[in-house]
Symmetry: C2
Subunit: 349 residues, 2 copies
């Protein structure tokens, strides 16, 4: 849509590859003393440190992971960074650098790529991240973004998926399911628009849902909150594919089972009302929706008093012995086995 509305179009080939990278990155400044050299040499250089280094990468592809008919490019740039920072925070680390590679077809003018980078810059400024490298090339079709995030943590602070112990409490930050429902609202509006382009949608009832889908925030704050509470998680993961899929990763790697309580799963009121409207089960949305970018972690049961009542966290269950399996206790007090129904990028197309 941006392409049609934008009066100014500068062809990408006018600038050339190095001109384009310079043009896009010149307004980025460095926020971290660990960044010795960012963009502009064969490789970026990071300072030696007594911390461990965390590395994670994600690839977002037009038509698979995003739809530009309702995802503004600035939001896409922001979200591509968030998705990666979230993985660093899920190790209980501090994110410090990113590289961003993009491939773009000629249908995008320079002004569109500037929008994308404006979103990347906003994310870098807000989260104190340095853009230290990347690659810009043409694609034969569509757009894709590959981001690698680099962070650090003291060895004793790093939290893996592997450490959950029997009787540990299962805790989640924020609330779940809103991003998935935001996507449903946007998909519906896209279809309405295709039928009647003059229809003016009233999206006031869905603002939180749409924001969670288009402009998610990674939970940078959780590390600090847990430090203040003097709680060290025994395992942690970020919720990108839905609660069900993520707790399965923790349980399989930690060789434990779990019991989740349906009535403890945190849901925003907009999620509950949208589920009624779309006639979807809200628990299913929380379990399988994905893209929430909240953190799921386990803490020793001795920390119950420190966590309970904290407005940032919900205790949603506890870890059991491996042979008890992975179960959800429903509101009707029935135990049902959890199934992985996370979003599978390979099933698309």
């Amino acid at each position: 849509m941006i392409e049609d509305k934008n009066p100014q179009r500068t062809s990408l080939s006018e600038l050339g590859e190095f001109g384009l990278i310079n043009h896009l990155t010149k307004h980025f400044s460095l926020n971290n003393s660990s960044t010795i050299k960012g963009v502009g040499d064969d490789a970026a250089v990071l300072a030696a440190t007594d911390k461990q280094t965390l590395v994670t990468t994600d690839l977002l592809i037009e038509g698979v992971h995003f739809d530009l008919s309702y995802m503004p490019l600035k939001h896409l740039g922001y979200k591509a960074v968030m998705v990666n920072l979230s993985d660093v925070y899920a190790m209980n680390g501090t994110a410090e650098q990113i590289t961003v590679s993009i491939a773009i077809s000629n249908r995008f003018p320079l002004e569109a790529i500037e929008e994308l980078y404006a979103g990347i810059k906003l994310a870098c400024d807000t989260y104190k991240i340095d853009l230290i490298g990347g690659d810009t090339t043409s694609s034969t079709k569509g757009m894709l973004i590959s981001v690698t995030a680099i962070g650090s943590a003291k060895e004793e602070d790093v939290v893996y998926r592997i450490g959950a112990q029997e009787t540990d409490l299962i805790v989640v930050s924020g609330d779940l399911g809103a991003a998935y429902l935001g996507l449903q609202v946007l998909e519906r509006e896209k279809q309405v628009f295709q039928v009647d382009p003059n229809n003016q949608p009233d999206l006031d009832a869905y603002t939180y849902l749409i924001e969670r889908q288009l402009k998610p925030e990674a939970r940078k704050d959780v590390k600090g909150i847990l430090e203040e509470l003097e709680v060290q998680p025994t395992s942690m993961i970020d919720i990108s594919d839905g609660l069900s899929s993520e707790i399965m990763h923790i349980c399989s790697q930690s060789k434990v089972g779990c019991k989740l309580y349906e009535d403890k799963i945190p849901l925003d009121p907009q999620v509950i009302s949208a589920c009624e409207e779309f006639n979807i089960d809200s628990t299913m949305v929380a379990l399988s929706g994905g893209e929430d970018y909240e953190l799921l972690f386990t803490v020793p049961i001795a920390d119950f008093d420190k966590i309970k009542g904290n407005p940032n966290f919900s205790i949603i269950g506890h870890i059991t012995a491996e042979d008890q399996g992975l179960n959800l206790v429903t509101r009707a007090n029935q135990e049902i086995a959890l199934k992985a129904q996370g979003w599978n990028a390979l099933k698309q197309e």
Copy 2:
């Protein structure tokens, strides 16, 4: 081509995303003590070290950077790693880890992706690199590979593009132009094949050229050779876009000029004979061909005796004052200004 010849086809969606990643990475072992945790958590974890960390990334796209009609997938995987390691070596560093993200359309069966990963694994085994992460997703069209390489170097060993000084010698490893000519040979054979699929090409005269295009090696050895010679380069870059483009990066960042000598540019005999056959100027091929992945560096003139006669290196010119510009002294002893004619990925399509 592999798709047509392969009798066994396993659909990617049968495995699912996590199954696919597990399947592809299970045979990879860790080579470096700096890798604390590779694939399998939210982020990889690297050990704290007293060295600086080097980070570089490159994106390869089907139809832009490679043509699967003559690039076997195993070679593609190998080359995608080499391209990134070369950037780490160009900082005078040691490459230790990579992340690999791939997007693949459904036209590729599992067996094709296994071939790609066989090439990545061969590169990892040969160069002692650990695969520590990545992302695997579907694409709406074609294949792409995004690799990020991570390395390390002592602070005092890192060589930037910025340090070239007036009177420094300009040195290049290996020989230049072969990869570009290999591409010309392969393109010609592709056209012959399209006209006459039964034609059996005789490529004996081009084996070196084709190998340089399809299976380039990054110059891991140069760091050790220079250490033995007790030579510390003042600036360094890898030759991915052609000698002309790379010396321009060094000169512009170091704020110096240069004088290159046409008769000193190292060329393999196959390059010379192929240039005659294709009626191309061999100097132009070396200056603008690209994809050689040799290292271009500058050393103090005091090191002349240490470098001269070394079979790994050719002294091809020297650094001058900035106001003298960038010049090539031809075999006819004429000075002509250098122009950047490096390969520009944005001009494709």
